[in-house]
Amino acid sequence: MLLRHLGNYVILLKKIFSWPEKPSVYYKQTVRELENLGVNSIGIIAIISVFMGGVITIQTAYNIENPLLPTYLIGLAARDSILLEFSSTIVALILAGKVGSSIASELGTMSVTEQIDALEIMGINSAGYLILPKIIALMIFAPFLTIMSMIIGIFGGWAAGTFAGVVTTTNYIQGIQFAFIPYYITYSLIKSVIFAFIITTVSAYHGYYTNGGALEVGRSSTRAVVHSSVVILLFNLLLTQLLLS
């Protein structure tokens, strides 16, 4: 079962990355997907980042209520959680839900209404034409979303922290500047690009091979979200070990 999925997934990847017939058309599609998958995700990522940043800061504050520890540690700990895990992994999971389900249902609908057959009949590599622009678009845009999420998350931490009175502005700023490791950002960006590839390809796989009707489209969409989330978590473990050790 798992092996069969894996086999078909590899076959689809091969199809996606073979001979584009007209690069200019791919370019146009990619621009379209940048808006569709990337720009349209800014809102939800911003909202989630500001709240998560706030929650992380307040929780950290209550966890280190030891008077011996300097309060700038709150800023430092919040910053590292956001940079290391939150802005890549959590954001990827959110994207898996939003972008993954939209890719799977779009391709699934195209499959069950024979639109994919129609492309094939025209002599077009349907997998390449439909999926490659999505992969490229999200891989380009995911790092921007990640950086945006970091900035907004840290801002949310400051806003919530000062509002709740658990940390002062000076201490928070001192904390987020203290012992700053730029590599954490690189690490997060690398992860975000890989996660973008996972989200688009796994969801496209489920959508592209949908058979049947509207019910199956719904199922594919659910499966796309679940499977890409699981694969993301798995790779998160692997990448953490690989990149941070």
Binding site: V25, D117, A118, G123
Partner: protein, 251 residues
């Protein structure tokens, strides 16, 4: 001209097509008829290579299509026009863009030339007023007509239609039938149509193939079909009260 020889196709151990051979001639409307589930769609999709067949040959002008590599196949496929059962228009494109799609993909025509060709095709199917709408904003019959416009925009040599008039009122069905027939004659192309509509058979069936339980049960012209004497075919032809009454009157 398309020839299929001894075609066999099965899904998970159930054989759907059983040793089908047929010759679809140029300049004629070739109709494949048969009851629901008899294998018409599978036959059509096997001919155009959407299904891989288990055995048998499919020849386009004598060239064996089913053993070709993808590249060669795609060259022949550029000469295909296909109208799918549900029209299969691209949801994200307007009617105008749907019809222009192939021109954008495969030609180096100027924007003006493309638009002229698109307008011509949409005129042909009487859709010149809805070109800016999306498929979801069209009725079923309009979608089918747009599908025909898209199918013929590249001057195909082969036109395939899967139930072009199912779900349409008799009048619209008739218009679509005659449109397909006219295109076939005007462009002198090989047209293969799946249908279970006896009206279409009588209207445009230059050549009719009756598929029964995955086998080619009978073939002939529309003139011959009413007096074939074939039990299963008569059962299909005279399934409705209307046709039965007409037969009684004639006899």
């Amino acid at each position: 001209m398309i020839e299929v020889r001894n075609l066999n196709k099965s899904f998970n151990n159930t054989q759907v097509l059983k040793n089908i051979s047929a010759l679809f001639e140029r300049g004629k409307a070739n109709l494949i008829i048969g009851r629901s589930g008899s294998g018409k769609t599978v036959l059509l999709k096997s001919i155009i290579g959407l299904h891989d067949v288990d055995s048998g040959d499919i020849l386009f002008e004598g060239q064996c299509f089913n053993i070709m590599g993808l590249k060669e196949r795609n060259i022949i496929r550029r000469k295909f026009g296909m109208l799918f059962q549900g029209a299969a228009l691209f949801d994200s494109l307007t009617i105008n863009e749907n019809v222009r799609f192939n021109l954008d993909m495969f030609t180096t025509m100027s924007v003006l030339e493309k638009q002229k060709r698109v307008d011509h095709c949409l005129d042909m199917v009487d859709l010149e007023n809805v070109t800016h709408l999306y498929p979801s904003e069209l009725s079923g019959g309009m979608k089918k007509r747009a599908g025909i416009a898209r199918a013929v925009v590249m001057h195909p040599s082969y036109l395939f239609c899967d139930e072009p008039n199912s779900g349409l009122d008799p009048k619209t069905a008739n218009i679509i039938d005659n449109l397909i027939k006219r295109i076939t004659l005007e462009l002198n192309i090989t047209t293969v149509i799946n249908t279970h509509d006896m009206n279409s058979v009588i209207e445009i069936g230059d050549k009719v193939f009756f598929i029964h339980e995955g086998q080619k049960w009978w073939e002939g012209s529309k003139e011959e079909i009413l007096s074939s004497g074939n039990l299963e075919l008569d059962d299909f032809v005279y399934a409705t009260e209307l046709v039965r009454k007409l037969k009684e009157q004639r006899d």
